[in-house]
Amino acid sequence: MAVIAADTVAPVPVILKSPGFWRGVVRRLCRDPVALTALGVVVLLVLIAIFAPYIAPYDPSKGSVIRRLKPIGTPGYLLGTDELGRDMLSRLIYGARLSLTMGVIPVPIAFVIGSAIGIIAGYAGGIVNTLIMRTIDVFYAFPSVLLAVALSGALGSGLTNALVSLTVVFIPQIARVAESVTTQVRKLDYVDAARASGAPARTIIRVHILGNVLSPIFVFATSLVSVSMILASGLSFLGLGVRPPDAEWGLMLNTLRTAIYNNPFVAALPGLMIFVTSVCFNLFSDGLRTAMDVKS
């Protein structure tokens, strides 16, 4: 077959480039006040965690028996003091460090591992898919709290072990989402067209699958951050995560529960922080989901 004749070649002056996909996402996100506010709160919390030593008015672990369980608004102790007389504001500020770490760290690790497992299962299909997904289902059969507690219990308490067990809890969930998205994308005609061109599987996954499955998985993973924070708090509450006297919101909730009748507002403060943070992560991931929908 003759290669296209020279006279038919069009002069190509300038190629109008479309703004990329991520540009569009950012633009749409900027028009969503709820998602922006949520993102702002999250960023603020991260900054507070980073600069905790400069912000906190007192040492978070220094207590005093004479000023135990002061109510909110006590002069000098804006948010009161806890059962050992430690300043609540300082402890909440320092608590953001561990709580955010435990909420955020397991998710990206689980995202990478879970996506890889799910995409391989979804693209391969057939018996490979069945083998991988049924194995995943074994983990899925346990309630996530129970699984996290069981794993942490088996590994022993401590920050690293808590992070490992949370990661393991999230891998099956992410893998399952990745598998179902990949299975859908794999059936589309452009994947068939790529296969018809003789491209090897890894090229097809890299060029055609990844770009189209990662954003829904990413959105799902973002929503797991809040779950991770709550589970981490739960582990600390049970004594399987962080150990006292370290400040962590879940652990603080645990130690303050004895004060719930004497000073309920102070006792509820760590819970409020967990609630606000997880709601903000969820709102942001909802906004991200909407912004990533190209057709809207």
């Binding site: 077959m1 290669v3 296209i4 038919t8 070649v9 069009a10 190509v12 002056p13 300038v14 190629i15 109008l16 480039k17 479309s18 996909f21 589309l188 005609d189 452009y190 068939d192 067209a193 790529a194 296969r195 018809a196 061109s197 003789g198 491209a199 090897p200 090229t203 060029v207 055609h208 770009g211 189209n212 190209v294 057709k295």
Partner: protein, 355 residues
């Protein structure tokens, strides 16, 4: 692989080797059964007989039309030809060479490309138009810059100005423009055969006409062969040199455009043609030529598959499967009425002596 040295048509002989009389594709006994979930654990294993022993040739330089109701196996046949799904049985000859044996699958794939019905689903939404078109040549070792330049040439050939369209994303194009991009992508590997699976069915009539004319131009310029799948008989009549009528996974009739549209011998082809809307109001059809849905391909009727809906059904039709009999050089039909001595009362007599 030698593809790195000269990516396009390393062996220019492929597709031109057997001479003009050798069919480009000879499909023999193509068969694909899809397993379906049986009721309960111990129920018999059931299969959908999507394509159930199909023989046909695609001649060099022709357009072979494939028509039939939904679910008759048109698209499955196309995907079997593309090797997108693996055939259970049957053989595929490309220009006299057995695909997968003397002709490696990788080489065969460069010769046969496909355009799908859904113009949106067949383009990766995350790739620009030029990236989509340049993908296949890059897979076969063409350097990126060259592949992109070639994509621009092809865009120009399908009537899209490269300067305006190359950097765009699929959702920024109209359906007709997207289908032009799909055609350009199919051409990127310089194939000999292009399978058009309902490629124009989803387009507006005016756009459809433009794309059909584009297809005819490209066929002339590039020396292409088309397999044209459609349910629009008017389009098939316009585009195709020969027509194959399929019913429930089998070939009912195959012949030149003139024989099929002029003197169809299979009652199903006749009924299908009668369903074409007429331009002349005095020829308006009042009776539906066929009633009911086609039978379930999980459990097709015995004998001739059409016997449940055929107006000329007789005993023999439910007992024996009619072979695809050659009636003339231009026409073959799988109907007992067309085969002498089949036992059907309307069958032509066996030779002169009997009458």
């Amino acid at each position: 692989m030698s593809a790195v040295v000269s990516p396009y048509n390393v062996d220019p002989g492929i597709g031109a080797r057997g001479g003009p009389a050798q069919p480009l594709i000879s499909a023999r006994g193509l068969l694909k059964h899809f397993p379906v979930k049986s009721s309960g654990f111990f129920g018999p294993k059931k299969v959908v007989r999507a394509v159930d022993g199909v023989d046909f040739d695609i001649l060099k330089g022709e357009t072979l039309g494939v028509v039939g109701e939904s679910g008759c196996g048109k698209s499955t046949t196309a995907r079997l030809l593309m090797n997108l799904i693996v055939r259970d049985k049957g053989s595929l000859l490309f220009d006299g060479e057995t695909v997968g044996e003397t002709l490696p699958l990788a080489q065969y794939r460069r010769q046969v490309q496909m355009v799908f019905q859904d113009s949106y689903a067949s383009l990766n939404p995350r790739l620009t138009i030029e990236e989509s078109i340049a993908f296949a040549p890059q897979v076969h070792g063409v350097p990126a810059a060259k592949a992109i330049a070639r994509a621009h040439d092809l865009l120009f050939r399908v009537g899209l100005e490269p300067g305006r369209f190359a950097g765009r994303y699929p959702h920024e194009l109209s359906g007709g423009q997207r289908q032009r991009v799909n055609i350009a992508r199919a051409l990127a590997l310089e194939p000999r055969l292009i399978i058009l699976d309902e490629a124009v069915s989803a387009l507006d009539k005016s756009v459809e006409a433009q794309v059909l004319n584009l297809l005819l131009d490209l066929k002339r310029d590039f020396g292409l062969t088309y397999l044209f799948i459609s349910h629009d008989l008017n389009v098939v009549k316009f585009m195709c040199d020969r027509v194959m009528v399929m019913y429930l996974g089998k070939v009912a009739e195959i012949g030149t455009r003139a024989t099929i549209f002029g003197q169809a011998r299979h009652p199903y082809s006749a009924a299908l043609l009668a369903s074409m809307p007429k331009m002349d109001p005095s020829e308006r059809t009042m009776e539906p030529p066929l009633s009911g849905d086609p039978p379930n391909p999980i459990d097709p009727p015995s004998g001739c598959r059409f016997h449940t809906r055929c107006p000329f059904v007789e005993d023999v039709c439910s007992r024996t499967v009619p072979p695809l009999a050659s009636l003339s050089a231009d026409q073959s039909a799988a109907c007992h009425m067309a085969v002498p001595g089949s036992g059907h009362s309307r069958a032509p007599n066996l030779g002169e002596t009997v009458s």
